[in-house]
């Protein structure tokens, strides 16, 4: 049997099995899920180097599945995160009820993500896309709380995106008479599609919803923060990348290598669209970062941070030069890794302490040292500071933007990366540093099966910080599928067009040595007895604070900043959406006036309709 079909089948039957096993015991589904992802992953890695293809037909439509290098790049993200998240999940979900439906949807969404990337025709692409949407939707609403706020928005926005995509798909089919992706790309080359721009823009809207690009992002903060952390790492790390996957295909394969660049109108429109998209990416990065800054809940903070990070990736893809695309794909992989790790770390805190509210927790560093280590490494990568891999991605993005002449975007990206320092410090400080509180004294480190996946991700960040070539290799192959030629990369050396080059090994060695020296120095210095103080033990101008007064640093952490940026926060996009939605609903109330419930009115309608039709139709036919 074909391996691709087998992997899909394993995930889908694993989902059924996970649900059924919950009828026996609530503990089983987690293990079933772990086993399923392991089998699927092993199968994939055993066979992914071979040529794989499968085609079959269903009600006269040809469906094709195949592997290519671009697919394999994203498959690494899906399976890597999938297997770590399902290992993490076993202990994380331990005491929760209804694990059957959680794991069933968990497996369905991983399986359907793999389905999306192997689809070589629009029909199976769309089917898997929708399965992914509703299975992740069911996890968002899984705990049954706040459905109206979280679930409906996610489903409604996803539906808008999916239907934009579906419109594009049927339009493409009506023009070229097939749903095959390859045929579509060929038709684009030959300029055989009349409304190519409309189709491309509709497809981009569909992908932008999943990538949470502003202004289509409003579902994301709520959906990300409402799901169990073991799934959020997949949700933010891999599922949002499906939007990136699709955007890459449209922006690069269709816009950049369409063979229509000589056509003036086409070039104008496609460049305009790319520019708009790049700017939307920039705006997304900036605004989401600002929102992340003022969040008090660690999960919400990470949710906004995910939106911001995807903004950078979209910028890279929209600019579309070789370097920009490379940086975008690099950042996409790195985002999957560090955001996966961060969500897991916050999830560990949530499980051990019971909350992720940063104003309530502090000083967990001694209680959860491993989690602290993972968080530290991940935020360094997130902020783009050497010697970790986030730096490499940002470096390339800056260079791509500067060489392409997008100086404004450089400013925007620079602004939001700087602001990202603030929120990433906040999450580190809020959860792990500061005073140790008595009520967290009993907290222990998370169990090993939760720590191991996080640490693996953190180690990956450290290694790729010095040897980014590990990641560049699959990216370069993927880019060749997209149409680039001569994609060059170096294992440890970053060089730019101006002739400078940085050897990352020196950088990381230097920083490593400096870090060790500082550590030794601080350990010696700290050996002199330190005095433990409680939160309340501070100078308060002679007034003794009352018991209920919260004096932790975490409260009003960036107060001066918030005060300065207050006008920005007044207008919330979410609020606008809600107002529009409520306004529309009120407007739709006119239907109540039509259906009065009065029999006489209905009789009048019949007569009036008859007369109108007689007049209108007499003239029409």
């Amino acid at each position: 049997m074909n391996t691709l079909a087998l992997i899909i089948l394993i995930f889908f039957s694993g989902a059924t099995l996970a649900y059924l096993s919950s009828l026996i015991s609530n503990k089983l589904p987690g293990w079933v899920a772990l086993l399923t992802t392991m089998t699927g992953t092993v199968l994939f890695y055993m066979s992914f180097q071979n040529e794989q293809a499968l085609s079959f037909s269903i009600i006269g439509l040809n469906l094709e599945w195949a592997l290519d290098n671009y697919t394999i790049l994203f498959a690494h993200i899906i399976f890597g995160l999938g297997i770590l998240a399902s290992l993490y999940s076993v202990q994380y979900m331990q005491n929760k009820s209804q694990q059957g439906s959680f794991y069933a949807n968990f497996l369905l969404s991983i399986g359907s993500m793999f389905g999306i990337i192997i689809s070589k025709d629009f029909i199976s692409f769309f089917i898997f896309w929708e399965i992914m949407t509703w299975s992740s939707f069911l996890i968002v609403v899984w705990n049954g709380i706040g459905f109206r706020k979280n679930g409906i928005w996610y489903m409604a926005m996803s539906a808008i995106g999916a239907y934009a995509m579906l419109t594009a798909i049927v339009l493409i089919n009506s023009e070229i008479g097939t749903y095959s992706l390859q045929a579509f790309f060929n038709a684009v080359q030959e300029n055989a599609i009349d409304n190519l721009m409309l189709v491309s823009i509709l497809l981009l809207i569909g992908f932008a919803v999943k990538a949470a690009l502003m202004p289509l992002h409003i579902w994301a903060p709520r959906a990300y923060s409402n799901t169990p952390a073991s799934y959020t790492s997949v949700f933010s790390g891999a599922l949002s990348k499906m939007g990136v996957f699709g955007m890459g295909l449209v922006l690069i394969r269709v816009f950049r290598f369409s063979g229509l660049q000589d056509n003036f109108d086409y070039a104008l429109v496609s460049q305009f669209t790319s520019h708009v998209l790049a700017w939307l990416g920039g705006i997304t990065a900036a605004i989401a970062t600002l929102y992340a800054l003022v969040q008090k809940d660690a999960k919400k903070l990470l949710a906004y941070s995910s939106i911001a990070q995807l903004g950078y990736i979209v910028i890279g893809l929209a600019i579309g030069t070789k370097l920009a695309v490379m940086s975008a794909l690099f950042l996409a992989i790195m985002h999957a890794v560090f955001k996966g790790a961060l969500f897991m770390a916050v999830g560990a805190v949530e499980r051990q302490v019971g909350t992720t509210d940063m104003t309530k927790i502090s000083g967990l560093i001694r209680r959860m040292p491993w989690t602290f280590f993972v968080t530290l490494v991940s935020i360094i990568a997130l902020a783009g500071v050497p010697p970790l891999s986030g730096f490499v991605g940002k470096w390339m993005l800056y260079e791509a933007l500067i060489t392409n002449g997008n100086f404004f975007l450089v400013v925007v990206v620079f602004f939001s990366s700087t602001a990202a320092f603030l929120y990433s410090y906040r999450i580190l400080f809020g959860l792990f540093l500061g005073q140790e509180e008595d009520d967290t004294a009993h907290v222990k480190e998370a169990p090993a099966t939760m720590v191991i996946p996080m640490v693996i991700l953190a180690l990956f960040l450290i290694v790729t910080g010095t040897y980014p070539g590990i990641v560049f290799e699959p990216i370069a192959h993927g880019m060749e599928y997209l149409g680039f030629t001569d994609v060059t990369w170096n294992m440890t050396v970053l060089s730019n067009v101006w002739g400078d080059s940085v050897n990352l090994q020196y950088v990381s060695t230097t920083i490593g040595v400096a870090f060790m020296l500082a550590l030794i120095f601080l350990t010696f210095k700290g050996r002199k007895g330190t005095r433990g103080v409680s939160t309340k033990d501070i100078s308060t101008s002679g007034e003794i604070p009352l018991e209920h007064e919260n004096l932790t640093f975490q409260l009003d952490f960036f107060k001066p900043f918030e005060r300065a940026a207050a006008p920005l926060y007044k207008r919330s996009i979410t609020k606008i959406y809600e107002d529009v939605a409520n306004g529309l609903e009120a407007l739709f109330d006119f239907t109540r006036k039509i259906y009065t419930g009065n029999g006489q009115t209905y009789a009048i309608y019949v007569v009036a309709f008859l007369v109108t039709l007689l007049i209108v139709v007499q003239n029409m036919l």
């Binding site: 009600i59 089917i127 929708e130 039509i594 209905y602 019949v606 007499q618 036919l621």
Partner: protein, 495 residues
């Protein structure tokens, strides 16, 4: 015994007379006999559908008078498709409501006789080849539907039935008028013969007849603005009857409309009218559904909206579009009846039937809630459930006809559909608070029915080829008008 389409009509009529007598022997017979009739419907459907493999259609004349003078029943792949679907849904409704009014046998007897007549009438509409006979069957349907709407004693039921009666009598009058004009002009009532002689009718009269038919059948087909009766009737009739209305009766109305448009008339530009009417029907109904507090009314409006989409598809009129329309009808019959079945249990002990009362029902009725959620997923067209394929084909037909705006409108309305269905699911699965309704455990036969429907929806979703051949034959038969005329007129030549 030689099986023929006449059995669809003769047997239930006989049974309806016998049931009151038989139930004197044993009360349970009032429940069993209709079931046997439905089961027999299924058997003849299978036999006749198989016979269609060797011959293009089965045409049966009644009382030895051959067409165009006598009444004939025509079993084509198209009518066969609808008849089999109706028989199947009818049978499921019977299984589902077997325990209806368990203690009271008189109401149960009434219920089962009326249910049987409702299904028979709808099947008759589809089978008959005679326009006046069609009118008669329409009346049978209407009268049983009025009585079932007013089934429960009380003001609301009577009011709903009265509204239905008021609008329904308009329908009868208009259709009768149209038939009278047609008869004076052509001197025949046989539909195949009418189609041949249609060119004799002056154009202005043709248009008037067409409009009269359109409005008359439009009332049964729940076309806007003639559908005011529908939400009331759906919400007042006994629970399973909602499934019959949505799954069977509306299909009869649509069939009549389509038969008139496609077979009898040859007017150009009719498609545009159907598209416009379907579009308005769909938009208004879905917007109304968004604002409903009453679950059954919401389902009723959603059903109207779906019929709007079917009308649009028939209006587009290409092969793909008709295929999509028939597929939509099949899906709608299966899914909507499943939704009505599960909704009846969710709101079993409620007097007001509001959505608010559903809060947290999933805890008490996990299976029924799951079925409702499955139905909602399928009806909004999420893959891999059956609703997806019909939606896809509908959109393909619209795209081939270059109707981009239409696609965008239909899909925007679909977003609204998603919102109101998922709101209900959210209420059912909410853990914020719990419902005060006393849950009623579903009986074993209703669980069986819901399982069968749920399984069918998933199976067709994963493997649509199971039904598509059937639908292809049906749509070919509908499009191929000259074949229909020729076969009816030659096969029923005087012997």
């Amino acid at each position: 015994m030689n099986i023929s389409p006449v059995h669809y009509i003769a047997l239930p009529l006989l049974a309806a007379f016998l049931i009151p007598l038989l139930s004197k022997l044993h009360k349970e017979l009032a429940r069993i006999v209709p079931g046997l009739v439905f089961l027999y419907f299924l058997v003849i459907s299978v036999v006749l559908m198989q016979r269609l493999e060797t011959q293009p259609m089965i045409s049966e004349v009644i009382a030895g008078w051959s067409a165009p003078w006598g009444i004939n029943l025509v079993f084509t792949p198209f009518s066969g498709f609808l008849v089999s679907l109706m028989s199947f849904i009818g049978f499921l409704v019977w299984v589902y409501s077997y325990h209806f009014k368990k203690i009271d046998y008189m109401p149960a007897q009434k219920y089962f006789i009326l249910l049987m007549m409702l299904v028979t009438g709808s099947i008759g509409i589809v089978l008959t080849g005679d326009i006046f006979n069609l009118f008669v069957f329409l009346e049978i349907v209407a009268i049983s539907a009025y009585s079932l709407t007013a089934f429960y004693p009380g003001r609301d039921g009577a009011e709903a039935a009265f509204k239905y009666l008021l609008v329904g009598s308009f329908a009868s009058a208009l259709i009768l008028l149209a038939i009278v004009i047609l008869y004076t002009q052509t001197g025949t009532l046989n539909m195949a013969d009418l189609a041949v002689k249609m060119h004799e009718v002056p154009h202005y009269l043709k248009v008037i007849i067409f409009v009269l038919f359109l409005v008359g059948f439009g009332i049964e087909a729940e076309m806007f603005p003639l559908n005011g009766w529908a939400p009331d009737a759906y919400s007042q009739a006994p629970g399973p009857i909602g499934a019959v209305f949505a799954g069977i009766v509306v299909k009869g109305g649509i069939y009549a409309l389509v038969r008139v448009v496609y077979t009898i008339f040859d007017l150009s530009g009719v498609g545009t009218i159907l598209i416009a009417l379907g579009l308005v029907t769909m938009i208004i109904a879905e917007l109304a559904a968004l604002r409903q507090d009453n679950l059954k009314r919401m389902l009723a409006y959603s059903s109207i909206g779906q019929m709007g989409v079917v009308l649009i598809a028939f209006g587009i009129g290409t092969d793909t579009a008709i295929f999509a329309a028939l597929f939509l009808m099949l899906n709608h019959a299966l899914i909507k009846s499943m939704l009505f079945f599960s909704a009846s249990y969710l709101l079993y002990n409620s007097t007001t039937k509001t959505i608010k009362e559903l809060t947290g029902m999933a805890k008490h009725l996990p299976f029924v809630s799951f079925i409702f959620a499955l139905g909602a997923f399928a009806i909004v067209g999420l893959p891999p459930f059956s609703g997806f394929w019909s939606k896809l084909y509908f959109l393909m037909a619209a795209a081939d006809a270059q109707m981009v705006l239409l696609i965008i409108t239909v899909l925007s309305v679909s977003v609204i559909e998603i919102i109101y269905y998922f709101r209900v699911i959210g209420k059912i699965y909410s853990k914020d608070e719990t419902s005060e309704l006393e849950p009623k455990k579903p009986t074993i036969n209703s669980v069986l029915v819901m399982t069968v429907l749920g399984a069918l929806i998933i199976i067709i979703g994963v493997y649509p080829d199971l039904v598509t051949d059937w639908i292809h034959h049906a749509s070919d038969a509908l499009v191929n008008k000259s074949n229909y005329i020729q076969n009816v007129l030659t096969e029923n030549l005087p012997r």
